[in-house]
Symmetry: C2
Subunit: 213 residues, 2 copies
DNA sequence: TAAAAAATATGACTAACGGTCATAATATAA
DNA sequence: TTATATTATGACCGTTAGTCATATTTTTTA
């Protein structure tokens, strides 16, 4: 049945085209100031057609979030190395996350949106439920922490699970701060890099296995 | 002119009544699922009247945020003590912030909303611009860190400004994580308290002045 | 290849809701 | 008591996410 397969591909393609169009519109004007009519126009389709491929405006946004996560995951995987210690890899991931914020700020913003609007995310419950079980930056990060505990470069008095989630949550807080609180940074005369550097310094001391370099 | 003063008081009172009503409605159903008609009904006023006292739905929400900040500030001030070191006070503030999340989760959620929707906050630019200059949890926290640096209990190689904002941002990340990622915590079998404890542990090592207890 | 059936696309329409404004009610001043 | 100012009202408006009856295109059938 070559036809149904081709149709499947075409459908997938159209879905992607719609997400592409939505991305353009949303990135330019923000989710709230973008209308589905604009997305439809950008995609050269009628509005009704959008709803054949997606349940809601927010579901399209959620698909963009998935793209963001895929990019971030890819960057993380590229940034680590077998030749480095767990501790070094861990710090590398931090740097990479900051680079993601700088290079893909649009995608980053989409991710933040879903961090903080979990009430609505229920719509995608099924997708979210299984999310952690699949490839996911946090899951990946836990492995790195584990590596560090095993190779003795990261303190071992906190379970890898817990330590990883703590660092992950912290780091999200840092990125969120430097990306939304420019006013405060300006007013206090502090640069985003200062905060990032300070975060590294605290983490270094905070998680390094004592006695090791 | 006793009359105009009384009128002023009455107006202020009515404003507060409206915020009270809005709080009830918003806390019960969430900002997005609450309508201005519902707020008006709860306040026993017509919808039009609401707009005599507030420019928009979101401005009312912003007023609720101000209440939240006032509560948090009060808790912070209560939690510190002249008899404690800067380091101890700093840790105390962390604990207090967690207590705030647990005891005033509705207010906490409002604060988070404005952390992450800064685009819209422009409406309240004037209010926000001056915000940092007034009483503000972060500003207060900077003072505590300064105390710690001065009394030698907190490392002095990072400026108080920077260190305080870093810790603040981190902690926000932690609170946000434990309040929105229950699913992940469940799945990994980690408790919110574990994360909080781990955070304390990392910070302790991370900011304590070496050589001091 | 033509007609029937299935799949896909359309855009006018609806419902919901934030915000407005002409009008009404009430309080104050003259 | 009348004129003026203040406060309140709710019908109405504009916008927009989402729907659905209808139309178009593609595939299947005979």
């Amino acid at each position: 049945m070559g036809i149904s397969e081709r149709k499947e591909r075409e459908k997938e393609q159209r879905r992607n085209d719609i997400i592409d169009a939505a991305e353009k519109v949303f990135f330019k004007k923000g989710l709230n100031n973008s209308t589905m009519d604009e997305v439809a126009e950008e995609a050269e389709l009628s509005k009704g057609t959008l709803y054949l491929y997606f349940k809601s405006k927010e579901e399209i946004y959620f698909e963009i979030k998935l793209r963001a996560i895929r990019i971030l995951n890819g960057m993380f995987i590229e940034s680590i190395s077998e030749n480095k210690t767990g501790f070094e890899n861990c710090m590398e991931i931090g740097k990479t996350y900051v680079a993601f914020l700088n290079n893909y700020s649009n995608y980053y913003r989409v991710m933040v949106y879903f961090e903080n609007n979990d009430c609505r995310v229920c719509e995608f419950k099924d997708k979210c439920e299984n999310f952690f079980k699949e490839d996911n930056p946090l899951k990946f990060f836990i492995q790195i922490i584990n590596q560090g505990i095993e190779d003795g470069t990261i303190r071992d008095d906190i379970p890898a699970n817990v330590l990883a989630q703590t660092l992950w949550a912290q780091t999200n807080g840092i990125l969120q701060f430097i990306s939304t609180k420019q006013k405060i940074l300006e007013f206090t005369g502090v640069k985003a890099e200062d905060i990032v550097y300070s975060q590294y310094e605290i983490i270094k001391r905070g998680i390094r296995n004592e006695g090791k370099s």
